[in-house]
């Protein structure tokens, strides 16, 4: 097992800058997720840790080794690919044992390691099959087995669940977490799915346009987003963001209507954005007047899309709610759950 340290890491493709000034510490045995929209550089960063991409600047260390110029074969890391990347000409057993055979581990030890990995991952019946004969979920398990059998000091996951259907994804999510708990191996998990990031991680790193936007526990990112980007990215349905101007401690919208605004570092007259999560808006008689645009029952919650003063917001309520589009509705905001952002910089104005 090992920790990972990155200092001022950057990646350039010719004149194109993909990553800049990445400073990141991953503690031993920690499970972190790298999350961000496609093209934010998260997969590139993971491949740099694996040694599959060169490092244009800065340092990456695994444990006490600076690995910048170390080829992947000597880094002692394992990686699970989005495409699984199983070797089609080898059996499941052959795939799982490939890394051990390369290291010339004796046959008896290999057999034991493969058998125990197969038992954990429920692959016992499939060891003699080839990847082409397996279902997506089974291939995923083989890829996991290939990674864990070597007992590497670091696990890297590159969107490993994105090719599975929704049900299988939830199941594999739990299995990867259980596996991490048992093996205690340091893991870095890349995903674009914020639900995956939230549910699996000890700590989430949100990336955007080649930079780390914010890092913290899932709860921190959800409750105290540091920027408009994180506020919009984490949470589903995402946070309502309402731009306006601050006057007399209230948010003034384009048409002159006002909304409550939390105590913040904002100056009078500053362009600010109010953020509020859907579950913190509820229908309440005597509240803010709005019109229902649509109602979306999800089963657990009901989402109410409302419009007022040219702004559309989503409210999420626990109770059943029915209304035709165009019906007037009155809304109330939980005033202690409001978020304040600087519209110009996108940064939080929390004091």
């Amino acid at each position: 097992m090992a920790s990972v340290t990155m200092r001022g890491v950057r990646k350039d493709y010719g004149p194109l800058n993909i990553l800049r000034d990445i400073d990141l510490d991953v503690a031993d045995q920690e499970f972190i997720t790298l999350v961000g929209p496609s093209g934010c550089g998260k997969s590139t960063l993971l491949r740099m840790i694996a040694g599959l991409e060169t490092i244009s600047g800065g340092d990456i260390s695994i444990g006490s080794d600076r690995v910048n110029d170390m080829p992947p074969m000597h880094r002692d890391v394992a990686m699970v690919f989005q495409s699984y990347a199983l070797y089609p000409h080898m059996t499941v057993a052959g795939n799982i044992s490939f890394g051990l055979r390369l290291r010339r581990v004796v046959a008896e030890k290999i057999a034991v390691a493969v058998a125990s990995a197969a038992a954990v991952l429920n692959l016992g019946q499939l060891l003699e099959r080839r990847p082409g004969q397996l279902s997506g979920g089974q291939r995923q398990r083989v890829a996991m087995g290939r990674a864990m059998v070597r007992n590497p000091r670091l696990f890297l996951f590159d969107e490993p669940l994105s090719n599975l259907d929704a049900k299988l994804r939830v199941q594999m999510r739990a299995e990867i977490k259980a596996l991490h708990r048992r093996l205690g191996s340091t893991s870095i998990y890349v995903t674009h799915d914020q639900v995956e990031a939230m549910t699996m991680a000890d700590r989430i790193i949100v990336m955007n346009q080649g930079c780390i936007e914010q890092q913290g526990t899932p709860e921190t990112l959800y409750d105290r987003p540091a920027s408009l980007f994180v506020a919009g990215f984490i949470g589903s349905p995402s946070m309502n963001l309402i731009p306006g101007t601050l006057q007399n401690g209230r948010l003034v919208l384009a048409d002159g209507a006002t909304l409550p605004f939390p105590a913040s570092a904002a100056q009078e007259g500053q362009a600010v954005t109010l953020g509020i999560r859907p579950e913190h808006i509820r229908p309440q008689p005597g509240g803010l007047a709005a019109d229902v645009v649509d109602v979306e029952p999800t089963g657990v919650d009901t989402l109410i899309l409302c419009r007022f003063s040219g702004v559309q917001v989503i409210a999420s309520v626990r109770d059943r709610f029915r209304a035709l589009p165009g019906t007037p509705i009155a809304l109330a905001f939980d005033e202690d759950k409001l978020h304040a952002f600087d519209t110009a910089t996108g940064k939080t104005l929390r004091q």
Partner: protein, 270 residues
Amino acid sequence: MRRWLLTAIGAVIAGFYLFPVYWMYASALKVSDELNANPPTLIPHAPTLAAFRWIFERENIAQFMANSLVLSGSVTILTLVLATGAAYSLARKKSVWMDVVLIGVMLSQVLPPPLLVTPMFVIFRQLGLINTQLAVILATTTKTLPFAIVMLRTTFAQVPVDLEDAARVDGSSRTMAFLRITLPLARIGYIVIGALVFLLAYGEFVYPVSLLSKKALQPATVGLYGFVGADYSDWGNAMAFASVFVTPVIIVFMLLQRRIVSGLTAGALK
């Protein structure tokens, strides 16, 4: 009904192409009087193996065939070895210069052997390689290599890079990843391309006829040419010689034809 019609059309076209082949086998079995009979006979009246006996006993076809096999086999191995490195880098490295190289490789296929044979002759004479099989092997490889590079490149391009990356993270060097993962996955491509290169080299005529004057070194293509003189032509024996020459090719092609056709059109993998 439509199906019958298409089958009939297909049969007619195939018959049109295959008739000369049939004629070759039929003529090889005819006695010389029947060969020149008018009207010609479609089926030999009195089949004889006399012509085959003649070419084995008097023309030493075994020597020609052995030369052909040595030349084509050597060309095939040399071509595949040289093409591997070029094709692999062309498949994996993305850059404008790689495109330029690829276009260059494709263009080099345009030049026909009769055009190149004169400068080749001059070069090989200076190297003292005239009348050696090495000269023919090298010359023929210049013709087969561009073809093999272009074909192998597509084969390698179909092996996902992820597989090599996975192997490298698993603990292999780049070379090891190539040898243990990419090469085995490209083996069908190698079989198909190797067979086609072999056929190209087997049928090569211009280079051996120009670079080899010693009869003992000449391949069967040149040997066959010897039957057709300006003032005499020995059709019966020539046909028997040609039959012996092409039969192995036809057999190999029939054995491999499904793979060759699928290899030429779609992925040479899976």
